[in-house]
């Protein structure tokens, strides 16, 4: 017994001595491939649709750096950031890695190499840099654009006697159209999935430009967010109102955005959905179920006077370089190859993504793509992407509480403000 006590005391004492030493993520982690080899992490290279982009980029890079081998490691997407975080902490991170724009890359910017001096020549050709920028420095080069157009079903519009080429531009007209649509076709106004708390992200960004004034919008993106402004509150009261008025499909809180909500839209059970521009839940997916010519894209109706609706989009995914890579110049060159026009062209053609490269020809994609691409120059970054990931996560939970009525709009906005300003 005595011995056991002694052991326990030793163990506890050891822990106390250790307490507060070291750090949860290795501050001087250094890893990656050896010289002459670059390791790339992504969640794409395993897909058949992405392989031709990778091949093109590899060939392009091999021409310029014949002595360097490149190894692509495809990780499962749902575990990607967990694995990447663990690898960075263990000092076994890759040299070049794929990132989603917004919070994910900003949270990890301290492990990444600023790319500004390397990508100067690509600035004009590519769009969507903001999503990979933190404190004025760029940490990744965009591959695709991701955004939240409002898709609508033109055939339902025709059946309801509405003009499919002239969707409503004011919110009250839009709600009236929805009433007509539901009465004549049985379809709800919005396909909504908020099981994962994603519905609110799409809603905030999809309709935000119809609520916030252009100045307030730009301030929000620049980090000067006034959570107590009437317009910001209006977004969240609108979110609740839409559901309370029965404009959403039933059970929004238990419908998964991926892909149950999209299935509601594809099966003509809802006339609108705020979807994505690239990869999934987008024009290409919808065109497989509805006729490609029946998939329309509209701007947000104007909810508050003074708003100037625009397409919300950001850099979707992009390649970043780790701070500890042996030869930053070579790694940055690989990023440039991965974002060359040739590589990005096949991203559009094979994977159905809106490529970050403005010079890619999209005329084969149908009217929805044409509308989206025509709006890119006037578009602005999406509102939810500008938020820190902890606030986005909190917003997901609060949005569910708003729908179930267990929190008020004022209380929710207050909590969001506190989380946003926490640091």
């Amino acid at each position: 017994m005595k011995q056991r006590t002694l052991w326990s005391v030793t163990l506890v004492a050891g822990l106390v001595v250790l307490a507060g030493c070291g750090s949860a993520s290795d501050p001087d982690a250094a890893a990656g491939g050896s010289k002459g080899k670059l390791v790339v992490w992504d969640w794409k290279s395993g897909d058949a649709t992405a392989s031709s982009d990778i091949k093109k980029a590899k060939a392009d890079f091999a021409q310029r750096h014949p002595g360097v081998t490149v190894e692509f490691v495809a990780q499962p997407f749902d575990q990607y950031y967990t694995l990447l975080g663990a690898a960075i902490q263990a000092g076994k991170g890759p040299d070049v890695m794929l990132f989603n724009g917004g919070g994910q890359i900003r949270d990890r910017a301290d492990s990444l190499l600023p790319l500004d001096e390397y990508v100067r020549d690509d600035r004009k050709r590519l769009a969507g840099w903001d999503a990979f920028t933190k404190d004025g420095r760029t940490y990744a080069a965009p591959v695709t654009l991701q955004g939240h157009p409002i898709y609508y079903n033109k055939s339902l519009y025709r059946k309801a006697g509405l003009d499919p080429e002239q969707p409503a531009t004011r919110w009250d007209e839009f709600v009236a159209d929805c009433r007509t649509l539901t009465k004549t076709t049985g379809a709800r106004c919005f396909a909504q999935g908020n099981k994962e708390g994603i519905g609110i992200q799409f809603f905030l960004s999809g309709l935000g430009s119809g609520v916030l004034s252009p100045t307030e919008y730009d301030d929000w993106i620049a980090g000067r967010r006034d959570w107590s402004s009437p317009a910001v509150k209006r977004v969240f009261s609108l979110w609740k109102e839409v559901n309370d008025k029965g404009l959403n499909n039933d059970g929004a809180n238990s419908t998964a955005m991926f892909n149950d909500a999209f299935a509601v839209f594809q099966s003509n059970k809802a006339a609108h959905v705020i979807g994505l521009m690239s990869d999934t839940g987008h024009w290409k997916d919808f065109a497989e179920f509805l006729d490609a010519d029946d998939v329309g894209v509209m701007k947000s109706p104007v909810v508050m006077a003074g708003a100037m609706p625009s397409l919300p989009y950001d850099g979707g995914i992009g390649y970043a370089v780790a701070k500890w890579t042996k030869d930053p110049e070579v790694a940055a060159d690989l990023v440039r190859s991965l974002t060359s026009t040739g590589a990005l062209k096949s991203f559009f053609a094979d994977a159905g993504a809106i490529a970050a490269d403005r010079t890619v020809d999209v005329s084969s994609g149908g009217p929805a793509v044409a509308t989206i691409v025509s709006e890119i120059d006037r578009g602005k970054p999406a509102l939810h992407v500008a938020l820190p990931s902890r606030t986005v996560e909190l917003m997901g939970r609060l949005s569910q509480q708003l729908l179930s009525g267990s929190v008020t709009v004022d209380a929710a906005v207050k909590q969001l403000a506190a989380s946003d300003q926490a640091g």
């Binding site: 507060g20 750090s23 993520s25 708390g197 238990s254 419908t255 998964a256 569910q400």
Partner: protein
């Protein structure tokens, strides 16, 4: 014996236990110590800096973590249900209800499914416009938002977990019944005892060790292997109502890039498990002494 030989003999036991001790120290205690030590450091900009009990204070202040701990409490409360269901089913099978051998294999079947598959099945069945709500609607009752109502969702997930894992407990109960003296049951039957009385006075006392074993294993199962179901069925939602500590740890470490906070949460979970584990060891030891 030569002095060298004597020394070798004295050292031999230490050499022999060394591999086991090394494995425990290197793979268990050292990481545990590191994790505890990390929990006193900061995240992000303050990576590596000592923050004292800051992470623990943040945990206590985080309603999400409090929900996670409260849900652990719910699991403990629901434990008797999770034990009683396989126990009752095993009783019926033992009493040879019609079709008992068919039911024996049917009840065991879910135990071979992975949590991901179980979760997907229940996601389909319990969707708001899914088959169960259609049946409820047809019978006049309104639909229940099984996975979207914060007051219901945690019970839905625990229910799915019990459905998936009770097969194993059922088999353990059936093994326990094999040791039960059937003369006692026959005597009770001759005396005209009702089923409820038979269960209370004959079966439960006769199976006390089996029941204790099932209680311990079920509790461990509920505390450590709900992650897959949560991930697939609710992702911690709605409104964060189905968070459990392990899910919270995963979100903080992987999604929020807060490894130090996750270490603190892991330390708290470890302490909870330690208390539960010690209680259970005590329970098992007492059960062993009874015979």
């Amino acid at each position: 014996m030569s002095p060298v030989g004597r020394r070798a003999e004295r050292l031999a036991p230490y050499v022999l236990v060394a591999p086991a001790v090394l494995i425990i120290v290197l793979l268990r205690l050292w990481p545990l110590g590191l994790g505890v030590s990390f929990s006193f450091t900061g995240d992000g900009d303050r990576n590596g800096a000592t923050v004292g009990l800051g992470n623990y204070a943040e945990l206590i202040g985080d309603p999400l973590f409090r929900t996670a701990l409260r849900n652990v409490g719910w699991l403990v409360v629901l434990l008797p249900v999770a034990v009683a269901i396989p126990g009752l089913l095993a009783t019926f099978i033992h009493l040879r209800v019609p079709g008992h051998s068919f039911f024996r294999s049917v009840y065991f079947f879910p135990a071979v499914l992975s949590p991901v598959i179980v979760g997907a099945i229940f996601n389909l069945l319990l969707a708001f416009d899914g088959p169960l709500n259609t049946v409820l609607g047809g019978s006049g009752a309104g639909p229940v938002d099984w996975l979207g109502d914060p007051d219901v969702a945690i019970f839905t997930v625990v229910g799915a977990h019990i459905w998936a894992t009770s097969g194993m407990a059922l088999v353990v109960f059936l093994a326990g019944f094999a040791t039960l003296d059937s003369a006692l049951l026959d005597a009770a039957r001759v005396d005209g005892a009702s089923l409820a009385r038979m269960i209370w006075h004959v079966i439960i006392p006769g199976l006390s060790r089996t029941i204790q074993f099932v209680v311990v294993t079920t509790m461990i199962g509920m505390l450590t292997s709900m992650f897959g179901l949560l991930y697939v069925m609710t992702s911690g939602g709605p409104e964060g109502s189905t968070y459990l500590p392990e899910y919270y740890i995963w979100v903080q470490q992987g999604q929020m890039s807060r490894p130090a906070l996750a270490s603190a949460a892991s330390t708290v979970l470890f302490l909870v498990m330690l208390v539960v584990g010690l209680l259970q060891v005590g329970l098992l030891r007492r059960a062993g002494r009874e015979d």
